[in-house]
Every structure is written in C-alpha cells, then in structure tokens.
Symmetry: C2
Subunit: 160 residues, 2 copies
DNA sequence: TTTTAAATTATAATAAATATCAAGATAGAA
DNA sequence: TTCTATCTTGATATTTATTATAATTTAAAA
C-alpha cells in the first residue's frame, strides 16, 4: 500500500502536481476501500475521520484530478451519484461490475472478457476504443438463494 | 410508428396506466428521435413545441414510467445527465453505445455481441443477468480522419 | 527573506431530479 | 346523466450532487 502510494505520488509529480496532505489522505481512503464503490460524499466523510479540517471541495477536486490521471475511474450505476473506483495497478482496461437489483451489492470482475468483442467493434465500426464501461444488472448468488428459500416457504404455506 | 404507439398504449393499459395526451406527446417525441439520446430537458423542450402546456414534472414522470415498463432505457454517459433511449422493439437486451471522446457523438450498436461473455459470467460468477450496459469510449471514424489530416498539415508546417 | 504560484477552505451558485399539493380529467357506479 | 373515487397534471418548492468563487494558506523558487 505504501508502495502504491509512492507510485501515485510519482504520477502526480510527473504531471507537476503535488501530493498534499489532503490529497494523500484522500488517496489513502481510496486504497483502504479499494473494493468499495464510494461516492464523493462517502470519501469526504471517511477522509474527515482522519483529517477533519478537509473541505468537501478539495475532495471533489482531488477525485477529479485522480480521474484525469487515470488513477481512479468514475462510474455511475444509475442512482445519480458518481462513484470512484481505484484502477487496478497496471490494468489495461477498466474492470466490469455486477450490480444486484435486489440488494444493490456491487461485485467487480477483473478479467477482461471483451477482447474479442473489442476487435469486432474496432473492425466493423472503425471505432478506435480507448476505454469501456460494462455493467451487468441481475441477481447475485446470495439473493438467488434467498429467493429459493422464500419459494419453498411459500409453497409450504400454500399447501396448508 | 402509429403501430408502435398502439403497442405502447396496450403495454400501458395492461399495467393499468392510461395513454394521456401528455404521455402520447412524449412518446411521439421519443419515437421521432429514436436514434438520439435525449435528456429529460431535451424531451421537455421538444414536447413543448407541440404541446406547450405540458409541465416538466410530467415529462419526468412519464420517462420514469416508460423506464419501469422497459419501453425506454435510462443511460448515463458520464456527463451527469440521464438520457432516455427507446428500446428497440422486441430487443432482448439493451443495445451498446460508442461515445466519441473528441466530438461527443454517440452511435448505437444493435448487435448483441455479449452472448459468450454473459454465459461465462453467469457460469463463473453464478450471477443471473437480467440486463446490461456496455459503452465504449474512443475515437469515431470521423475524428480519426480529422486527426490524420491535422497530422499531415503539421508535418508540412514543420518541414518549412 | 521576499516573491510567486498552487492549493485549500468555506460558502455561494448551479443544475438535475424529486416531492408536494391543489386543481383538472376520467372512468365507472348509481 | 350526475356523482364519486382515482388518476394525472402543472406549478412550484425542495433536495441533492456538483461546480464556481473569493479570500486565505502553503510551499517552493528566487
């Protein structure tokens, strides 16, 4: 983690930005919640715990900056809030997401899976792909099992 | 088009909603701009041309309703505005989009292309897919050509 | 140290979307 | 037909996410 932070520091420097304490605190929160999908507000509240003087605008600006530098990716799962997702180190592409329509949980898929599709798109539509966003909506394993149990219960009740 | 409107009317009725004049006017605008990606505001302004008394809230409510009934799909290309996209009749899945990072143009891909990927995801992650969102960001053919021309120009200038 | 630019905070402003509520339209019952 | 209950609408207020502004602070450079 310290390692990753150092690299991010260098990335900032090479674009002549500084890693200010506020920015460092923000990046640390992102690193500590790498698998979550935090909104700007979420990040703000978490950073505040360790750095109470920080302003909301600074968090927004930092997230904007990190997005520009491709250190984080901004995602939107349709609830009207932007969420920020740390890009996996060295990852060529943004990863995919499974959003459960029952419980709202979000799972990440790091595997690319789109290589063939992208070849087709570049070839057939003459479109030069630089990035992608792929989200599947559906029912997660957990909720599928819940549903099954519920069904059993229902059929028992019905047969009484 | 009248045909499509009739079907939408039936869809509404079967969920016990009415196709009020306001709703009809809104649906007509969507049908007339099937390949655009209109925001609620856009739709509102277009509906107003033919039905000036309509209120913004009604348009929002109608779009919400149509989204629920899967007649339109809400998409978000990252500019903070929801856009509404008429679902192609009989289409099993939501179609994909190519968003140009140069000119902002949006092109639709009706081909599925994800069949194999979805099989893998359902199998490997035990996730029961009900819908998806796939957007490619990149450079459209038009802008690629512009870039080439620009390069030529630049090299000419440089050689002077 | 002085100078300069970058970055920060607090707060105001903007913009999209939603909630509220009184009034209007509509369909079925009497 | 008239009455009544329900649905729908329009105007407006409110909420919420995000961005802009302006004064201040910080940090590096001269």
């Amino acid at each position: 983690m310290e390692n990753r932070l150092e690299k991010i520091k260098k990335q900032l420097h090479s674009s002549s930005y500084k890693l200010t304490p506020q920015r460092e605190a923000t990046v640390r929160v992102l690193l500590e919640h790498a698998s979550d999908h935090l909104s700007a507000e979420d990040v703000y509240l978490l950073v505040k715990e360790k750095y109470p003087e920080i302003g909301l605008a600074t968090v927004y600006r930092t997230l904007e900056l990190l997005t520009e530098l491709k250190i984080v990716d901004r995602v939107n799962f349709g609830d009207g809030v932007s969420r920020y997702d740390l890009r996996v180190e060295g990852a060529q592409h943004f990863h995919h997401h499974l959003v459960c329509i029952e419980c709202g949980s979000v799972k990440e898929i790091q595997e690319d899976l789109l290589e063939d599709v992208e070849l087709i798109v570049e070839e057939r539509w003459k479109f030069q792909i630089t990035d992608h966003r792929l989200t599947f909506h559906g029912i997660c394993q957990n909720c599928q099992e819940k549903r099954k149990k519920q069904k059993k219960k229902n059929s028992k009740t019905a047969s009484l």
